[in-house]
């Protein structure tokens, strides 16, 4: 997994509540057996019109959102199915971090497994970031720093976020969770022996 330490990048905003994983990556794209190549299908039903052309009204299609690697989102982002295709698609599209007031449980874990940092900030702070993004006509940049667990911009915005220490370590080091668990192999064996 690609480690996440600090990232500065352009911002896009999709400030809607309860964006579900069916929207992030619709089911017709779940048939692939690879982890890659989902980016073009991200938000498919919202991003493209029925004739296949990009819908200019969709938030990610706006000129100022082009090249974005940080997504501002609404509450309960990623609710619904457990499909890890959702973070794969977001990462494949180019996102490295998502900032939202809250995330659905399984989605949050899936993001961490893929080096896509879920940043939880209070609703008020997210709204302020969306305001700044919208005010900056030619694009808006943020820095997400996992070392100091802060989000900041060049114009004085700074907010701290919380993330479980375990998640933070894994992300900072780009650790493979399986490798980590296998260190407890003797404990797993002992557990299995005790049950039989």
């Amino acid at each position: 997994m690609q480690p996440f330490i600090v990232h500065t990048g352009r911002v896009a905003a999709l400030h809607r509540a309860n964006v579900d994983t069916d929207q992030i990556i619709p089911k017709q794209f779940l048939k692939r057996i690879e982890r890659t190549g989902f980016g073009p299908s991200l938000f498919f039903d919202w991003r493209y019109r029925a004739d296949g052309s990009p819908d200019p009204d969709f938030e990610l299609n706006r000129p100022e959102a082009q090249g974005a690697s940080i997504l501002l989102a609404g509450e309960n982002f990623g609710c619904g199915s457990s499909r890890e295709h959702a973070p794969w698609a977001l990462a494949d599209y180019g996102f490295r971090a998502i900032i939202a007031p809250s995330f659905a449980d399984i989605f949050h874990g899936n993001c961490c497994q893929n080096g896509l940092l879920p940043v939880t900030l209070p609703e008020k702070a997210v709204r302020e970031l969306v305001r700044r993004y919208e005010a900056a006509a030619d694009g808006y940049e943020l820095t997400v720093d996992l070392m100091t667990t802060t989000v900041r911009d060049a114009r004085g915005f700074e907010a701290a976020f919380e993330i479980a220490a375990y998640r933070r370590d894994m992300l900072l080091q780009g650790l493979d969770e399986i490798g980590r668990t296998l260190r407890y192999e003797p404990a797993i064996e002992a557990f299995e022996r005790a049950r039989t």
């Binding site: 929207q23 057996i33 039903d45 199915s81 399984i106 479980a164």
Partner: protein
């Protein structure tokens, strides 16, 4: 004094990090074709093996055609995904129920019916509706594909301890109100993120009175409230259900198991982090009007007005939902015409659900212009329903009687809504495009969906005489 959740959790901790997550042992790992190929591939790349193929069970469900099974699968990408699971299962020595197996079906339907879903166990699957199995007093939750790989390699899952919430349904629901209505009412009440970070334990008279199938419907949709899992303490109803299952323990082993399972119930006075109470006897049949399972109302209510929303965010999502659903505020829900009816899914695709619907359908005809289909949850469900003659009740009424799979619950196969079509569905998600791009889904109970098929519109099942 411990809760049901505490007891199951504590019995499965292999290792506990100081103030970090726990390593939990997994008793049963269910696998299906959509969320597993990348996990097997990951194992292969790392040179790892499946640790306990004997505790792993695979089936095909999400992506399978529900029409004529003798025909080759038309969709090549889907066919590759299915054959990949066949290859992976064979290589790892995992039991697989593919299209030819008499036990094939939706993963959350076959676990319980085979008797591999057991009280007190930890069950995971790369699928959010794994919460279904909590109906047996198991701790069962959905995981992502990276975690599927992790479980395959280690038979363990890394979890931070969730909080607990008691959801007590008091009283007895009235006629025409069942498990689906209870759970929809709960989600309306606490919202789709109301259960985030919690495991819900359902208690109370209305839960005790439910069949195992009803309990599974409730636990199934716990995830729709954002919860990690839902659980119900095992009791005589549970034991009776399990006694006749092919994989249940027998003889001495059964007696010992039941003894152990009896001890799982939450101790009197055990503490939950949060508790809520819902009076089941005040509820009517529920139906969703919007694009999230929390957007629920009683069938006798009207489409809400965004102007009455309690916050800006809510107003915005109401507006969006009404636009997508093509509904105007103040329109009575009863009488909304439907184009399609879907009976099935892991929420309501079991034989009891089909019986409930057949009771409404018997001797009647599907309204003209409505396309209605029944997709049994498994081959076993299908066979049992046919043995009772339920298939004839449906087909004589004009329903399609199809082969088991997830089907129009998520529309990965050809069973999808066309843009603009309105569907009465017994599934669990009414998200935009869930059943097909531009399709409009109303979630409800099997009896309500059956009534909608007959009347051609949403209707209060209590006012429809039984056949």
């Amino acid at each position: 004094m411990r809760t049901l959740f505490d007891k199951v959790w504590d019995a499965h901790v292999v290792h506990q990090d100081e103030s970090g997550p726990a390593l939990l042992y997994v008793d049963l790992h269910l696998v299906h074709e959509v969320t597993s190929p990348q996990a097997f591939q990951g194992l292969r790349l790392a040179g790892r093996r499946v640790r306990r193929p004997d505790l792993t069970l695979a089936t095909v469900d999400h992506n399978v055609p529900t029409g004529d099974r003798r025909l080759p699968i038309a969709d090549e990408v889907a066919a590759l995904q299915l054959s990949t699971l066949v290859d992976n299962a064979r290589e790892a020595g995992i039991e697989l129920h593919d299209l030819d197996s008499p036990d094939q079906g939706i993963v959350h339907v076959i676990g319980p019916e085979l008797g591999v879903t057991r009280p007190g166990s930890v069950i995971v699957c790369g699928d959010s509706h794994t919460s279904t199995h909590g109906a047996f007093g198991a701790l069962a939750f959905g995981i992502g594909t990276s975690e599927v790989e992790h479980v395959l390699a280690t038979q363990c899952v890394v979890q931070s301890r969730p909080r607990t919430m008691e959801v007590r349904f008091t009283g007895r629901p009235g006629r025409g109100v069942g498990a689906k209505d209870l759970i929809l009412a709960l989600i309306r009440r606490i919202g789709t993120a109301g259960g985030t970070g919690y495991v819900l334990e359902y208690t109370g008279e209305a839960i005790r009175a439910l069949s195992m199938e009803g309990r599974m419907t409730i636990c199934n949709m716990s995830i729709e409230a954002g919860a990690r899992a839902g659980m119900i303490a095992p009791d005589e109803t549970t034991f009776e259900f399990l006694a006749s299952r092919p994989r249940s323990p027998r003889g001495e082993g059964w007696t010992r198991a039941v003894e152990e399972w009896r001890g799982l119930a939450s101790d009197a006075g055990a503490r939950y982090d949060r508790s809520i109470v819902i009076d089941a006897d005040t509820l009517g049949p529920q139906v969703t009007w919007g694009t999230s399972p929390g957007m629920t109302a009683e069938i006798t209510e009207r489409v809400p007005d965004p102007a009455d929303a309690t916050s800006d965010a809510e107003r915005q999502s109401y507006r969006r939902a009404l636009e997508y659903m093509d509904l105007r505020p103040g329109t009575p829900l009863e009488g909304l015409p439907v184009d399609r009816v879907f009976l099935g899914s892991c929420t309501n695709g079991r034989v009891g659900d089909l019986r409930e619907a057949a009771d409404v359908v018997r001797g009647r005809r599907v309204a003209s212009g409505v396309r209605a289909m029944v997709v049994p949850g498994s081959r076993r469900v299908k066979a049992a329903a046919e043995a009772e003659g339920l298939d004839r009740i449906f087909t004589e009424a004009g329903f399609e009687w199809r082969n088991p799979g997830c089907s129009m619950c998520l529309g990965m196969n050809e069973d999808i809504l066309s843009p603009g079509e309105r569907c009465a569905s017994t599934s669990n998600r009414n998200f935009e495009g869930r059943q097909g791009r531009g399709g409009r889904t109303h979630l409800m109970s099997p009896a309500m969906a059956a009534a909608a098929a007959i009347e051609g519109c949403l209707v209060d099942v209590r006012t429809v005489a039984r056949g």
